[in-house]
Symmetry: C2
DNA sequence: CTATTATATTTGTAGGACAAATAAAAAGAT
DNA sequence: ATCTTTTTATTTGTCCTACAAATATAATAG
């Protein structure tokens, strides 16, 4: 109820499980729990919050899924390092996502691909470049690149960013990306022309050029995807 | 047990809850459930899988948290549109994340910021530009920009991408980003010099320039952050 | 036909029991 | 005294039963 405007607003209707989950997450922060720290056991929590152990277990099950806690007989529960991508990993399924969400994911993957240049240049090593070179040399003679070829090259780039979360996230997005693009191709195009900027070109720029040149080239490399962008 | 090498490998030790969760997610995909479709009720699932109703509820609680299912008395459960970011939202807390994860998030936000140019140019409207202009005009006279000023400008950019998932994700990343940068600044710098590329500059390029010019300018605008990148 | 009331159904919560899997303590061997 | 093995205690994991709460559906009244 907003007294100023007189509008009726929906009452909050969180289940006990939702509320226990929220309380526990706040509790972890307020008490500065670190991975390895012992947590109160289920019965203590249930008694402190005056709810049944079942409700506590339902809430804890969620936190367990996020990797935030681990549980052992006798020892009880301990804090763990959450898995940033545990949640999204379980919903990145093109068959259950809306078209709108799928398109967002498709674009998000392009956004991420365009944004990594600085990190590639900051962190490339001679070893990395050798390995990338081996990949592009192997691909040079192929008339058309397979999905696996694409994954191999771009996957190596992701590794080279030195950002594990990025690498994993970008890889998780691929099935939805591919799915979205597959539905587009069916309706709009028959054959993909040779890419004006090849993997080899990108490799050469990464080896001897600048982040800016890399971004320019990557945009062209990805033009088949960028051409699908709706206004 | 790998018979070739004789190495012992850990046995899989999923709880029943983990297994029920996995089974349910597969079941949703295999049966092409769409938002609004009725699902089997808890007792049916428990009987079909030969587990207790509690275990089913613990698994469903997780799916509920991800927004994948909704439950009503008598009607039962229905499929819902999952919330892509429900999981990560609950763990994007700088106080429980490792330094390594925090740094990954800091960088991920920079990657995303650098990648949105094409979408801004594809989707900018005269109305958007007017609104963005109003923001930069308001900020022009300020000697130093506050956090809120930064959020206002960049937030408008995120809106302009027309990608709701991106907008929300980038916003969710901000507290960790800010936290990481705050720990860096304390140890390395005292005062931030005026930005060589202002919000106004970015606005002008967005209005009259090219995506490439925008990316170049954004990189300079973000140089205070990019200068912190470890090799 | 529409509105109201009653009923049926399923989820949400509670409490109890015991199996399973350790972690910790105790006992035994060197 | 230290190390290894066995025993015990503790907590989680799973199961069961019961009933309250909140609808969704069916029945009744106007």
């Amino acid at each position: 109820m907003n007294p100023k405007t007189g509008l009726l607003e929906p009452l909050e209707s969180l289940s006990m499980t939702d509320r226990v989950e929220n309380i526990l997450r706040e509790y972890f922060t307020e008490n500065a729990f670190k991975p390895g720290d012992a947590l109160p056991n289920e019965m203590e929590i249930a008694q402190k919050l005056n709810v049944s152990r079942n409700v506590v277990r339902e809430a804890l099950s969620r936190l367990r899924m996020l990797g935030m806690i681990e549980a052992r007989p006798r020892r009880g529960m301990i804090m763990a390092q959450p898995d940033l991508l545990a949640g999204i990993e379980k919903v990145l399924n093109p068959f259950i996502l809306s078209k709108s969400n799928q398109n967002d994911i498709f674009e998000l993957r392009l956004i991420l691909e365009m944004g990594i240049a600085e990190f590639l240049f900051a962190r490339k090593t001679p070893k990395d470049l050798d390995e990338l070179e081996a990949i592009v040399e192997k691909q040079k003679g192929l008339p058309v690149l397979s999905k696996e070829d694409e994954i191999e090259f771009h996957g190596k780039l992701y590794d080279m960013t030195g950002n594990e979360t990025f690498q994993r996230f970008q890889s998780l997005l691929f099935p939805v990306f591919e799915h979205v693009f597959a539905t587009m191709v069916t309706t709009t195009e028959h054959a993909a022309p040779a890419n004006p900027v090849s993997h080899y070109d990108l490799f050469k720029i990464l080896k001897d050029g600048t982040p800016e040149e890399f971004r320019k080239a990557m945009h062209i490399h990805l033009s088949v995807y960028y051409n699908t962008i709706r206004r």
